[in-house]
């Protein structure tokens, strides 16, 4: 299957010991998986856009992100081909447009903090 091993290598980072292994020697960790050179390069370069195009699920990419300290929004900006500032501007503008569609409980309902 396309990208099975790529997904497997990143899925295994759900395990704390495997995350530690990745963090201490990334190349050695990846040597344990049958990856193509393009897949290895994309992981090495934190090329989220390329990893997505290669078939890595976002649900394993977030495990890689957790391992290397990159959050979903940083990943997403990269996949959009935007700087993080430009992405945040997009998200803010969208929230402003969407706000008119909100349906919220009356104040006081649901308890507050």
């Amino acid at each position: 299957m396309k990208a099975y091993d790529l997904n497997h290598a990143l899925y295994d980072l759900h395990d704390a010991d495997r995350r530690a292994a990745f963090q201490s020697d990334e190349a050695a960790y990846l040597a344990g998986y049958d990856l193509g050179s393009g897949e290895r390069q994309a992981i090495r370069e934190r090329d989220w856009k390329r990893l997505h195009e290669l078939g890595a699920s976002i649900y394993v990419l977030t495990k890689l992100g957790a391992t290397v300290g990159v959050n979903l929004f940083q990943m997403g900006a990269h996949m959009r081909g935007q700087s993080f500032d430009d992405y945040q501007r997009f998200a803010r503008d969208q929230e402003e447009r969407a706000a008119a569609y909100a349906l919220l409980p009356p104040p006081g309902l649901g308890g507050g903090a």
Partner: protein
């Protein structure tokens, strides 16, 4: 005999768990969401359920591709909290209602649903992000997983049929049990690729209308249709469709919607005809 007293649709997301754990639920950004979910929790409390049947999906935290289930019922004493990469969140394992879980699993197979039965499983943010916001005390659950993560996906119509079969199973359970059904996930979001972060708020509002008053109209959509309408990962709304199918005759008491960051967060509350009346 068991009664289905009502149901709830509620979004799930790591962001809900993160804001909860960082104690940011009262911030300007997040309080509209948390008040909406807490309203769902108050509603749930008014139903006085003994157990929760939860339609949700795993996000490659419990299941791996060597054996990826289309439909999965958890039948165990309890479910540990999964490590999604940041370490497991600090909650006790979620207890299972073992008797009801055994019964639902057996009933679904008898009704010709070839489910996977997991005698050991972990639960991820699909269950654990909304659950502590809905109520601090864990109620025993029966987790029912519907694959929306890895193709091939079941059709929305099949998910509706599963939910209806679960509803029949609960109604046939020979214990005086009050059961609420929850569907978690959605609404619109697309969290990878060039359209990352797009919220389809017009469709979300339309969906909230349809799931309330004309849910069967949703069954003519394919999963690809839903992906086009609400973004790739919005197909999680079939968890709401399954929940809705388990509640024939139910009426929505309220629905809330909060579009924020990368998704439309939704809450909808259904009271069953057999459930306690509002304010009872």
């Amino acid at each position: 005999m068991a009664d289905i007293v009502g149901g709830l649709g509620v979004s799930h997301a790591p962001s809900i768990g993160a804001a909860y754990d960082r104690q940011e639920t009262a911030t300007e950004a997040w309080s509209p969401l948390f008040e909406s979910i807490r309203a769902g929790g108050e509603f749930l409390k008014s139903l006085r359920p003994d157990a929760l049947v939860v339609f949700y999906n795993d996000h490659m935290d419990q299941n791996w591709l060597d054996n990826w289930p289309t439909f999965q019922v958890g039948v165990a004493d309890r479910f540990r909290i999964a490590d999604e990469g940041w370490g497991p969140r600090a909650f006790e394992p979620v207890p299972c209602h073992l008797g009801l879980a055994e019964h639902i699993a057996a009933s679904l197979v008898a009704q010709e649903f070839d489910i996977a039965v997991s005698r050991e499983m972990e639960v991820d943010h699909g269950i654990v992000s909304p659950l502590p916001v809905l109520g601090e005390q864990w109620l025993p659950i029966v987790p029912i997983g519907i694959n929306v993560v890895w193709d091939p996906l079941p059709t929305p119509r099949r998910c509706w049929k599963l939910g209806a079969a679960v509803g029949r199973a609960i109604a046939a359970y020979e214990q005086p049990l009050r059961v609420a059904c929850i569907g978690t996930g959605g609404l619109s979001h697309e969290i990878d690729g060039p359209d990352f972060g797009t919220i389809h708020y017009e469709w979300d509002r339309r969906f909230l209308e349809l799931i309330d008053s004309e849910p069967e109209r949703l069954l003519d959509y394919s999963m690809d249709d839903l992906r086009r309408l609400g973004g790739h990962h919005s197909v999680e709304i079939v968890q709401w469709i399954a929940m809705r199918a388990a509640l024939p005759g139910a009426v929505a008491e309220f629905k809330y919607y909060y579009p924020k960051q990368v998704m439309g967060y939704g809450v909808i509350a259904f009271r069953s005809p057999s459930g306690p009346a509002a304010g009872a």
